[in-house]
Structure formats: structure tokens, C-alpha cells
Symmetry: C2
Subunit: 494 residues, 2 copies
């Protein structure tokens, strides 16, 4: 088994170093086509690193077509051909920032380098960020109340911003919320961590597939996690009931990544589930991207339907304004708010007072509503550019998840995700294999990729679509492929 | 026992509502002088609230002179006289923000309303914040790299800012640190939480007395906490060794609140302790306020003395720039950095990219160094104003903790802290009783108060000192007092 000497400087994460090492060996012929790689478990033990690191590296090699996974056999080196796109593939030039970026959403299936066309799901159209207004409001806030902005903040966040959020939730989501129920925090991740402190000793049901960071955060906080499969209405209540989970994290407005809009029947069934369990059960409704519904009006929130203080509502300004602002919020139902006030009120708010105050002025001045309307139009037109550009694939193409959100699911004939990702990558397009968003291997879809359209302009999306059409036209499963190929990272650490 | 009807609106925390209720009953004569209040345990059980909430309310009543604690007997209602200072004492007008504010540092001994002279420890001279430079740099940052600022960030924080911090640590603290070892986060509290995830299943030794939030954060993260007594050199290593703690959180540069500068011998003893315990032990060095050493040069950090990757270094811009910026950082030694990269690298950075970038430009332009030099002078002169103003108390006054930091410890003759706080409060000055910073009752100092001088101007401090002189002159322990009075909140929840 090969031994990797990891850099001491740690300017790149381990998995990227491992990826670069193996790729170099493949390109230089040290590792030959069809050679089998060690299992992730064995290699992790051999190198004394985490299995996750190895899987990350393998996943990237798979996404780029250096390695193919064969079901129940393992990972095999591909025959490397000259690559016909101009993207720089030198791992050495990839910054750790890029890596972190992709790791953000694509999870194990990240790519560390810029593709020509990067259809990641975690980029947004930041070129439309209203700088001049934002700057002006920031300055005027500093001028009007410098001492107030520099002192210690309310633990739940700026009171004026919370009032604006309450108004927004009423107007756009029909929710009746008091500003006192709102807790502002530095990102959804931070707030989910805080929720584990409001709900100690609680097992969490999560959507499978779902946002890959949710189980990582919960597990890092030592919470038990149950991945629960979905059907076409959303998280399966019968499957939750087989666990001892007392909390469930769900994305009813637009399931990530499948795009399911949870039916009203399933919403009611979940609320009914939440009433059981000796009063301990809680639903955590992540309403991300409800702002970007294109076809239908957004469906009422679980929070609004709930009559029993069972729903924590979560949302963020990451996708609507900018991820780097790190402003998210949650609405706590009365009973959990009391618990928060009793036990966690001592925590300082994690978001800068300057930016909270600026956002408050931004919302109060109507700029946020205008920005949302503008971005909704832009994203709808970007979605159209991508789907229209893929039309030449004809009936072999199946598109889903169009009614909302900032990405689409694509499948083409009987092509496996591995074949789709590899062919796309060779044409310079990054799309993410859907299996990267699954926790359990059983139910895993293996013939679909996720394509984000929010980070590219219309013309770029048209070119990306053309490259995908070229890559995927008249292709079936790849030579080595069989229809059972899947990527199995093994049982998930609990 | 009385029953309190808590407001449903929750616009004030429970403890403040309970405080207002009891105070109202004392003022209106429902509760009579010398009447005994229920124990915090009994009242908590009766009202179905946390004992901490009751203790908080009692502590505030004690600090304001409504209630007196009598050792081994309990809490007694004081005779209420007309109060001779103009501060508004109507609890109903106190905002939760004020409460949160004071709760920040004074812990259980917070006061929710503005005193005439507020010598809290968690306020800083924000009137000297360099707005115009900050604003200009913020704008120029947005102009020069808007897309970079709006995209997803490096999980450890802005690389340029980390480079500036590394330079600063080298120049001012003699530390050799790579920017790769630095993790930026939204406040020290957030980073201490993150440390519990880097060090799972670890018991923590904390300084007793110490910063009251540390045990609360650790316990909220389900870590076992051992309060360890101090001697005049710092945390007692023999006392740590009686526990199974594998981590110790310490403030060697300026112990909070006692102001001890940890001796070199104790530093070495702690480093030696850290080398035991089968390699699991870690020291967490909170270097807060090392920037504000007035008499001596700041002592080298534990981090610099360490040869064995045993020290996590923590610091923040809260006291040097503004608490509301929420920018803190930690330096991880190599071994723990590897663990962080393996297990926690998925977390997004919690600090806004705009403000990280602005701080980077602020440091790079030399503005931070100039600001520190300026504030050091200002704080030194504020300290002098307070101590000089207290001089008329003569030999009865004992002052300690002058060599660094933003507060002083004061004791006067044989006056108990309760008598000091009550008399000061009646003269319109808020000072905090030191017992509020202790966890264990055994070693508790009961004759000292903590007076912060960073949040008031020189002239105000002069007036505050004059009011204190008037309040404390020719006073001994109060009528009901005996020299063994202490406040015992009972055994700490683990």
C-alpha cells in the first residue's frame, strides 16, 4: 500500500493532499489503469488518518474521472486520457478556500479546482449584491448611533432587526411571530448547534438524502442521528416512528436536494407525530430558499400550521443576500423560548452589531423585498437557460426540482451518476453526483446529478448546457459500468 | 410561599421579572424588614423555574440593598429607606438588552438599570472607536474585491486577516505562529464551544474565581467542569491534579477577576502538568487584555513557552476594538490543528467576510497598533483617575490588580462586599461583589468589590470615586452583618 507524506505546513487539508498524491501517481503511471485502490478503511488505518478524509479524496478522484467505483468490489483506476478542456487541473494551485467552498455543499463529492463551468449548489448571484445601498446604510447606521452599535448586544440580536424579520415573516410567510421569539445567529450551522443545547440528550431524525452538514453538526455535538428515507411527499413518518428520535430536521418548502415540496398531508402527519412522545418532540423547519419559488406560491410553513409549540423555524440570509454575511435566525415556540431564556440566555449574539443594524435598515427601507423580487426573476431566467440548453438531449433527459430553489436534478437515459459526472467533468462542467447527499446506501439514487444554476450568468449556463449535451449525448453506462454501480462509503459513524 | 405570575410576552428574562416582583413586594410592605425569603432551591421548585434564575434575582436584590444574605441562615429582607440617588429604579423600564449587557460579566451580580456611575467590567471606551478609518477601509474593501467578499469563506477565516494576526502575535507577544494555525470565530464564547468539540469527553479545570461564562458554556456543552482555586501565583496545580481534568482554561496574562499575573514558575508547572495524563492534556490560554499592561511588559505567553503542542491560545478584538464586532481567534498547536482539520473543518467561519477584510486592512495599515497605543494611554489615565479619587479613604483602602487590565479590586477596612456594594449602590455607583465570580463557596473572598474603569471618562471616574469615598468613609460591616457573611448559591450543577 502506498504511503503519503503529508505536508507539515497544512496549507491544504489532508484530503486534498491525498487526492493530489494519488492523482499524480495515476497521471505518472505509478498506478495503472484497472488497478484496484485500497479500501478507504484500510488506507485510513495505514495512513493513520480519518476514513472520511480518504473518502473525500476518492470522491474527488471519482468526480474527475480518475477512479471508478465498482459496486461490492472497490475503487479502480481509470485509463487517463488527455483532457479536452482548458481548466487548470494542478492541485497545487488550488487554494484551501476553494476546497472549503466546494466541501460546503457537495460534501464528499467536492472538486477543489475551478471547472470551466461550475454548477455547484452553494454559489449565488453575488454580482447583484446591492453594494452601494448597503454601504450607504452601513455608514448612516454608524453615524446615527455609534455608541449603541459598539456596546454589548442583546443576546438574541438587534431588536430592530428582529422586528423587521417578524414583519417580513408575516408578509411573506403568513407567520405571526413576536420579535422576542427570534434568535439571530452566525449562520444556520451555528443555530443548529444551539438547538442541540436547547434539546439536550435528543436523537435527531434527518432527511436522507439531505444537506450533508446537518448530520456532521449534530454528531459533532454528540447527538444521535437517524437518517430517514423520503418518499415523493417528503420525510417518511413511518420511518421516523421506528427510531427513538425526538426531533426531526426537515426542509418542507423545498427539500434539499430532491426539490420535493412537502404535501399538506405529510405536514399534518409530521405535526401529529410531534404531538406524541410524551411532549418531548420537536420539528425543526429549515425554510431555506422558500424565497425562490418560481411556479407556485410558497406553501404555508409548518410553523404556521402548528398549534402546539412544536416547530422551530429556521432561515438565513445566506442565499438571499450573501453567504459571507453569516446572518441566520430561528423562531422559537414559546415553550422552547422559555427553555432558551432559562439556560442559554447568557450566550452573546454571534453576529456583528454593524451588520445587523445595516440589515435592519435594508429591510426597513424596502430594499430587501426589492432585492428578493429581482433575484427571483434572475434565478428563474437562469433556470430556464439551463433547461432550454439541455433540450437537445430530448426524451432521454429527465429534469426535476424546477418549482423552487437554486438547483435542478438531472438524469439522462440509463446513465449512472458516475458516468454523468465523469463525462461532464471531461467537458469542463462540474455537476455533483446525488449519492453524495445520501447517508444510507440502501435507498440511494445512483442515476442523477445535481446542477446548481444560481452562481452562473445566463450565457454561461447556455454554454455549460451545450457542453453537457455534447458530453451526455448518445451515451449509456460507461464501459466498465454496470447498472448496480454505486459509491458506498460504508456505515456512517454515529 | 409567594407565587409569581410570569409575563407571557417574555420581553424580560425570568430572573428580572422575579426580581421586580420581589422588589415591589418589599417596597410596598408586603414583605417586611427582617422577614426571611424562601431558599433558592425551594422557591425554584415552587415556581418551577431554574434555581439559577432565583439566585440571579436574589443576587440583584442583594446588590441593590433590598435583601441581605446571612451565612448558614438564608436571605433576609432589609429595611428599605428612601434612596438618595437619581437613577431610575423602575424595573419595568429596563430593557432586556441592559440586562443581557450586565449579565455578560458580572454574572449573577448584575444590575439591570443604569446607575449614575456604572463601573461594570464589560464596557470599553467605544467612544474612541476609529469610525472614519473603519468606514473608509470597509468601503475600499468592498470596491476592490466584491465577489471575493460575498462568496463562501475559508472555514478558518480570511487568509489575509490570519496573516495579519500572525504578524501581530509575533511582534507583540513574541509568538511564532503560522496563519494556518489560526481559526477565527464569532467571539471567545463560540471558540470555547468549538474547543469542546475538538476535545470531546474532556473534563475542564477552570479558575475559581473566574469569568462566569466559561463554566456555563462548558456545562451547556455537557463537559465536566472542575473549579480550581488560585493562590497568588495563579491556578493551583496540586488542586488540578486532584481532579480528572484533562484541559485547563487559564488567564495567565491577567487573571480575571483577581488580576494575578501568573508567575513563570507556575507557568512551567502547568506546562509540566500538561505533559502528563497519557498525552491527552491541553492548556487553553485566554490572553484577554494582555494588550493593556500598564506597569510591566506583558509576560511571554504559555504558548511561546510550550515545546510540546499543549497550548491553545485564545484572544479577541472585543476589548481592544469593540465587543459588538464579534471577532475572536484561537491558535491551535499542530496536533490539535490536525484534529480540527479532520473533524471540524466542515464548519463555516462564523464571522462576516466584510468585517474580517476590514480588520485585515485596519491591521495592515498600522491602525490597530496605533489604536492599541492610544487606548493603553487612555485606560492608564482612567485607572489613575479612579485610584487617585479614592485616595481620601486612606489606609483603609486596599487596591489590587493595577498592573494590567481594565478593572481594579477594592476593599475597605473590614467592610463586607455586601456592605460595600449596598453603600455604593445607594450613592449611585455600581460595583460588583467579587463573590459573584466564584463557583465554590469555600475559598470565597467576601470583602472585595470589582470596579471597572474602562467604560467611563476621567471626569466621570473622579465623580464616581468621590461618591464611593462618601459611601465608604467611616463605615464598618453593616448592622446585621457579621464577618462571616457570604452568599452561598449551593453546589454547582455539573
Amino acid at each position: 500500500m502506498f504511503t503519503v507524506v503529508f505536508s507539515d505546513r497544512r496549507d491544504r487539508p489532508l484530503y486534498e493532499q491525498l487526492y493530489a498524491f494519488i492523482r499524480h501517481d495515476i497521471e505518472s503511471g505509478v498506478l495503472k489503469a484497472d488497478e484496484k485502490l485500497p479500501s478507504s478503511r484500510k488506507l485510513a488505518a495505514h495512513l493513520n488518518i480519518s476514513r472520511f478524509t480518504v473518502e473525500n479524496a476518492y470522491a474527488q478522484l471519482i468526480a474527475e474521472g480518475y477512479v471508478t467505483p465498482v459496486a461490492k468490489k472497490g475503487y479502480y483506476v481509470c485509463e487517463v486520457e488527455p483532457i479536452d478542456h482548458p481548466a487548470d487541473h494542478t492541485a497545487d494551485t488550488a487554494s484551501t478556500a476553494d476546497t472549503a467552498d466546494t466541501a460546503d455543499t457537495a460534501g464528499r463529492f467536492a472538486c477543489a479546482k475551478p471547472f470551466v463551468f461550475d454548477l455547484r449548489t452553494n454559489t449565488i448571484g453575488t454580482e447583484h449584491f446591492p453594494y452601494s445601498v448597503w454601504n450607504r446604510l452601513m455608514r448612516s447606521g454608524m453615524r446615527s448611533d455609534p455608541a449603541g452599535l459598539l456596546g454589548t448586544m442583546h443576546p438574541q440580536g438587534d431588536e430592530g432587526l428582529r422586528a423587521e424579520i417578524a414583519v417580513h415573516l408575516h408578509k411573506f410567510r403568513g407567520m405571526n411571530v413576536s420579535p422576542d421569539q427570534i434568535v439571530i445567529g452566525a449562520g444556520t450551522e451555528y443555530l443548529i448547534g444551539l438547538i442541540t443545547e436547547i434539546l439536550p440528550d435528543t436523537a435527531f431524525a434527518i432527511e436522507d438524502p439531505g444537506y450533508p452538514k446537518i448530520p456532521r453538526i449534530l454528531e459533532s455535538r454528540r447527538a444521535k442521528v437517524y437518517p430517514v428515507p423520503l418518499d415523493d411527499e417528503g420525510m417518511r413518518v413511518d420511518a421516523i416512528e421506528k427510531t427513538d428520535a425526538a426531533a426531526a430536521v426537515i426542509t418542507p418548502s423545498h427539500q434539499f436536494p430532491l426539490g420535493i415540496i412537502m404535501s399538506i398531508g405529510r405536514r399534518q402527519a409530521l405535526l401529529k407525530w410531534a404531538q406524541g412522545g410524551s411532549g418531548r418532540r420537536v420539528l425543526i423547519e429549515d425554510d431555506y430558499n422558500s424565497e425562490f419559488h418560481f411556479a407556485l406560491k410558497p406553501i404555508p410553513t409548518l410553523y404556521s400550521l402548528d398549534q402546539n409549540d412544536k416547530v422551530i423555524y429556521l432561515n438565513s440570509f445566506a442565499n438571499t443576500l450573501a453567504p459571507s454575511l453569516r446572518i441566520a435566525y430561528m423562531v422559537l415556540p414559546q415553550k422552547l423560548l422559555n427553555r432558551y431564556l432559562k439556560t442559554l440566555y447568557f450566550y452573546s449574539c454571534t453576529v456583528s452589531a454593524f451588520e445587523q443594524h445595516t440589515l435592519r435598515l435594508f429591510m426597513n427601507g424596502g430594499y430587501y423585498e426589492r432585492h428578493l423580487n429581482r433575484m427571483r426573476k434572475i434565478y428563474r431566467s437562469r433556470q430556464a437557460a439551463l433547461t432550454e440548453g439541455l433540450a437537445p438531449l430530448g426524451e432521454r433527459l429527465r429534469v426535476s426540482g424546477q418549482s423552487a430553489g437554486l438547483h435542478l436534478l438531472l438524469s439522462v437515459g440509463d446513465m449512472t451518476e458516475s458516468a454523468l459526472v465523469t463525462a461532464a467533468g471531461r467537458s469542463g462542467v462540474f455537476v455533483a453526483p446525488i449519492s453524495g447527499f445520501y447517508v444510507s446506501p440502501q435507498s440511494r439514487d445512483t442515476h442523477t446529478v445535481v446542477a446548481g444554476f444560481s452562481g452562473c450568468r445566463r450565457d454561461t449556463l447556455g454554454q455549460a448546457a451545450a457542453a453537457l449535451v455534447k458530453a451526455w449525448k448518445n451515451k449509456t453506462a460507461p464501459a466498465r459500468g454496470n447498472s448496480h454501480i454505486f459509491i458506498d462509503p460504508g456505515p456512517r459513524k454515529r
